[in-house]
């Protein structure tokens, strides 16, 4: 037997959650679906495959104050940003949930990033199984699946007249509305299938192909924008700067990307990673070689966002396949 919530009761539940928590859910705006804070549950987009930006922005916001500098007793005091609300994110796809689990690795690695930790502690994830796969999806190659409950607190799976509710963690059990659930013998539909990407042995292949001219050729068409990094559920490079707004002093961190020019430039102007090829290679090197060595798995969830948004079709699936092939022939078009 499984527990099921009807579609109308789901809205009732979300309505309750929006009162008790900061509720974040997919919302359609100007033709794009984004995770946003919602006050009216009618605004929630239920009919979406996935959002343009991943939910990482609710743990690692695009811009966030790390601490403020306040005057106290003739001196100063550094006040950490404690402004983190109890939140529920609804509609997290399993790939993005994996992304958050992977983000934990660098951020919660000792010494842990306190602010990230606060966001993480105070947020409950309601996952939503995917009933369809997009052409760019390849999560099953990256260690998760369209119905993977592993990294969410509650997983909902759509069935004929509602959703199967699977409270995975204690945090999830705490928010599940027992009064709205019904026992049912309905079974979950089989998850959609998708293309397989040859990731087996990719670390070794990356290492072997490191000096291959492939990277220079691939970088020919790369624009070195930060789009792939900003839509990525894992990319976590950041910049930190101080602000002094009319006497209000804050240290702020914002997203950055290894594709930025000057990312590795030091005082005096020397850049050890100058050039298009090494620049672009860093992106794939980090995802497929360095991150796995440091944390044991690739920094990719197969969400396909970068594939979808890249203006010039730098397709990580193709890169993985090419790198695997680079044994004999090199050079890619």
């Amino acid at each position: 037997m499984t527990q099921v919530i009807s579609k109308s009761d789901l809205m009732v539940w979300l309505g309750r959650l929006s009162e008790s928590h900061r509720l974040i859910a997919p919302v359609d705006e100007a033709g794009v679906t984004l995770f946003q804070k919602v006050s009216k549950v009618e605004d929630i987009a239920l009919d979406f495959t996935n959002t343009v930006l991943s939910p990482k922005e609710w743990f690692f916001p695009a811009t966030e104050t790390l601490f403020s500098v306040e005057k106290k007793d003739g001196g100063i005091e550094l006040v950490p940003n404690e402004d983190v609300e109890e939140s529920v994110i609804f509609g997290v796809r399993p790939c993005d949930a994996l992304g958050i689990a992977l983000l934990d690795k660098p951020f919660l690695n000792e010494p842990a990033d306190a602010l990230y930790g606060r966001h993480r502690d105070k947020t409950t994830l309601i996952g939503l199984s995917c009933s369809e796969a997009r052409p760019e999806c390849f999560c099953t190659s990256m260690g998760t699946a369209p119905n993977d409950p592993a990294n969410v607190d509650v997983l909902l799976t759509e069935v004929a007249d509602g959703y199967i509710v699977d409270a995975v963690t204690d945090k999830g059990k705490a928010i599940v509305p027992q009064d709205l659930l019904k026992e049912s013998d309905v079974t979950a539909p089989p998850p959609p299938s998708m293309e397989t990407v040859p990731v087996e042995g990719i670390e070794e292949a990356m290492s072997q192909s490191f000096d291959d001219p492939y990277w220079e050729r691939l970088a020919d068409r790369c624009l070195h924008c930060k789009l792939c990094a900003y839509v990525c559920p894992i990319c976590y490079c950041f910049d930190v700067r101080d602000y002094n707004d009319k006497g209000k002093v804050q240290r702020v961190r914002s997203w950055e990307s290894c594709q930025s020019s000057g990312f590795t430039t030091i005082a005096g102007g020397y850049d050890r990673r100058a050039g298009k090829g090494p620049h672009l290679r860093q992106r794939f090197g980090h995802k497929l070689l360095y991150f796995p060595r440091e944390f044991g798995s690739a920094a990719c969830t197969g969400c396909g966002r970068c594939v979808k948004v890249c203006p010039v079709n730098v397709d990580i699936r193709e890169v993985i396949a090419d790198v695997q092939d680079l044994g004999g022939t090199s050079g890619q078009q």
Binding site: T63, Y243, D245, K246, V252
Partner: protein, 141 residues
């Protein structure tokens, strides 16, 4: 929409050779003008990058004044001609983005025109009082 007790904040970019001297002239001649303007001396009106203007608005300015030498009198011969074109285009862009173009004032004030400088500031201040405060700018909201 006049707001009771509103005192506009203004930033003035004055060219070193004419308008800054004109402001000096106004001061030394004891010609009064409203104290709302913060003056920044620049080498030439042609030096005023529109980035400076929008930055001033972002930082909470209600109005921005750019003053330079009269056409034909530029210390660098042609800086103010370039400024004229750029500011014409930029002011229209600001208006399009919803910043009332009256908030960006461009005037030619010579070193001898202390009176004119004082009049410009007075009338610009009056205009800004009438326009009211810019909707409260939340820096980095």
């Amino acid at each position: 929409m006049a707001v009771e007790g509103f005192s506009p904040r203004m930033v003035g970019f004055l060219c070193n050779w004419c308008s800054y001297a004109g402001a000096d002239m106004a001061g030394t001649s004891r010609m009064g003008y409203p104290p709302n303007i913060r003056i920044i001396r620049v080498p030439c009106s042609g030096r005023v990058d529109p980035l400076l203007i929008i930055k001033a608005f972002q930082q909470g300015a209600d109005g921005v004044l750019i003053a330079g030498c009269h056409p034909g009198d530029c210390h660098y011969v042609e800086g103010n001609y370039y400024a004229r074109r750029r500011l014409a285009v930029f002011r229209s862009l600001l208006e399009y983005l919803g910043i009332d173009s009256r908030r960006l004032r461009v005037e030619w004030v010579s070193a001898a025109e202390g009176k004119r400088f004082s009049n410009v500031i007075t009338s610009f201040t009056d205009d800004l009082v009438e326009l009211g405060p810019r909707s409260e700018v939340e820096v980095g909201a």
